[in-house]
Symmetry: C2
Subunit: 417 residues, 2 copies
């Protein structure tokens, strides 16, 4: 036996000649992205000449604002240097202007510009929780939180929200039941990915009370802040009174300005200890992308008309998706108040099988649709098996065609219930 307790090579003739060091436990535990794991099947479908409508990923087709693209085209940098590890100061000052505009008071010192919202989530978990500590997240939740939690050694404790309630905040009793001595934080996404649910001020105040009562952190992912419909207003956790030392706001310009590829987010907190500790991890990775920060700084100057137009477009799309699905036999889709996602219940045996089948074995007039199985957004085994997440990120014509594919697919799917 070797020092690692594995049989040494050579004892059995058929064994591999070299015992390799093993992959880490967290590496094995990290789930593949439920949003991206079906990509090989869509690639195969495209090879067969099938047109695939991508409703599986939060990549909008909306154009990045022209002023942002023009800014990049007219940069006169000679050396693409590292920036400040917390982000270019002029960009952070510009962000203050943006946040003030949406009613959030914040200073440049309370921000670290991150590489996408993703990095902010990882920093936050690394800084605030020890390995083995628990974070409570209402499920279904953005699947990639699992990857960051595993990277940080943090345990996600899901508590259920349900499609029949439109995925509203779970009752406080569910939070109380989930809290253990290892519970350190609650995390939400508002408006929510994958459900599109927009938390009300009243729901957030309930969260504030429980956070205060148990001395917890509250992490809020508000990257879809601007996408609120039907006259509803977004309320930020930054404006909850009495818990400013507990709150971390996670944000990104990816969705707001349809600029996912710039990889620019921001982590914000009034808690100096959180920020100075996060800064050490930020310094280790040197700086966020320079081009993206230049784009982000200009993006704050985007005319208000841009978002007005984008919102009108998303509302039309949402209405098509929700109405189409609710007309389909045995299907149900609550009407989401924000973001550009909806979770629908379908009369199917297994959403993973169904989504794969749509790509592998089905087409309607040479077309099919790619959806994200909702199972990947739940931590509780068995939940989401008859649900899918739909990102309404395609133009109205494509979206209607995609809905038609879904409708026709459901008619002939062998696993229909």
């Amino acid at each position: 036996m070797s020092k690692k307790g594995q049989p040494k090579a050579g004892f059995i003739a058929l064994q591999k000649p070299l015992i390799m060091p093993t992959i880490s436990n967290r590496g094995q535990a990290c789930p593949p992205s439920p949003i991206r794991k079906l990509v090989p099947f869509s690639d195969e479908a495209k090879k067969r000449g099938v047109k695939v409508y991508h409703l599986n990923i939060g990549q909008p087709d909306i154009e990045t604002p022209e002023n942002v693209l023009e800014k990049i085209r007219t940069m006169d940098l000679k050396v693409i240097e590292y920036s400040h590890s917390a982000g270019i100061l002029s960009y952070r000052k510009k962000l203050v202007e943006y946040y003030n505009r949406v009613g959030i008071e914040v200073s440049p010192e309370e921000m670290i510009v991150t590489t996408g919202g993703s990095e902010g989530i990882l920093f936050t978990l690394m800084v605030c929780l020890n390995p083995g500590d628990e974070v409570i997240i209402p499920e279904p939740f953005y699947a990639n939180y699992n990857g960051f939690a595993i990277a940080a050694g943090v345990v996600v404790k899901p508590i259920g929200s349900f499609i029949d309630d439109g995925f509203g905040l779970p009752p406080m009793s569910a939070f109380e039941e989930a809290i253990t001595p290892r519970t350190k934080a609650i995390m939400i996404c508002n408006p929510n990915n994958p459900t599109g649910y927009l938390y009300s001020k009243e729901e957030l105040e309930l969260l504030r009370d429980i956070v205060k009562k148990h001395d917890l952190y509250l992490f809020s992912d508000e990257v879809y802040r601007e996408f609120c419909y039907d006259g509803k207003q977004h309320y930020s956790v930054m404006n909850l009174e009495g818990i400013d030392q507990n709150v971390v706001l996670l944000d990104s310009i990816s969705k707001r300005y349809s600029a996912c590829g710039v990889r620019i987010g921001v982590m914000i907190s009034k808690n100096k200890e959180i920020m100075s500790t996060a800064m050490k991890f930020a310094q280790a990775r040197l700086s966020p992308p320079t081009f993206g920060q230049i784009a982000g700084e200009e993006a704050v100057n985007t005319p208000a008309s841009y978002l007005v137009k984008v919102l009108a477009e998303y509302v039309q799309r949402r209405d098509i998706v929700v109405e189409s699905i609710n007309r389909m036999d045995g299907c149900f889709c609550p009407n989401p108040g924000g973001a550009f996602y909806a979770v629908a219940r379908l009369p199917i045996d297994d959403s993973d099988k169904f989504c794969q089948w749509l790509l592998e074995d089905f087409s309607y007039e040479g077309q099919t649709v790619m959806l994200a199985p909702a199972t990947g957004f739940y931590s509780t085994p068995g939940r989401g098996k008859d649900e899918v997440r739909i990102s309404y990120v395609l133009n109205l014509t494509d979206l209607k065609n995609a809905m038609k594919c879904l409708e026709e697919g459901l008619k002939v799917y062998p696993g229909r219930k």
Copy 2:
């Protein structure tokens, strides 16, 4: 007492009104960047009107190639989308062309484009090591490895290289002594940051033998590959025979094309399990920056004359630094074979104090120099107290002025030995 075992607020009148949840242990353990921690003192010096020569950070003043900047200016993207999580395929194919040119055989499937070399290091530690596992690194080493190790819960076991040997590879006996049942990997940086040492093929073959003998991983940070001087050739760990399943290559375009701010690196391995596991973490953070990948793809087309000119420039700079320091009384600087760093021994009591003193209490003709105390590059307490790292990233005139400042500073430094 609260559930966390801390005294509840209110028991003692002078206590803070709210007990906050605590910062994580790893957050507290993460060291501040030794390269950046003196920044407040240089800011103060500048406010007093002192010109500060920055030899503390690996941010070259060399211009990014014009073809790269022009490519960004002429992009015709309308939507800045997420890319493939492993990086844009056309960029990975272009990287194959680059690596073939420098004698490394690799395919696009063996690469994940990362957000700077930094992210590749973090992925590698996360994927290959469990918390508590050990990685052996010859010291002094790039200080930010500490931050990534702490993030991954990995223990760095330093083994000494020494200035009197020019910082060559420690003897194999030192590696053997450092290996424990928890040792999982050896990590090197070649050419080395901070010492500039270029490992020979023979040294790398010794490493290969020990890696094979103990079933270890070998991680090699080769971001300074192109910066080899005096006719010396770089030898990559990718070309070591018999350990291709053990090797991970970490690379970045930051230094090669003086494009640190694009944040584009790459993680390369022939080990499919490492790559498929790293891919799960890569998918969780969605994608590396799109603009930077476009820059990186064009960078491979940079005319060979660009690097020839840059290398000639660096050799002149190195010669000025090394010759100047070796002429100073009581100082010693080995002649580095690569990168753009040198570690020098100075007749001082404490390099942290000295570097701070240069900024806080010293100037020569209205100028001073900012250096990185070498203590931050060692893990062993006490080592590096009479050494500094010098990055020769300024033009020849500035570099000469900086050396003069150092010389004059040493004459009057109160802690001179």
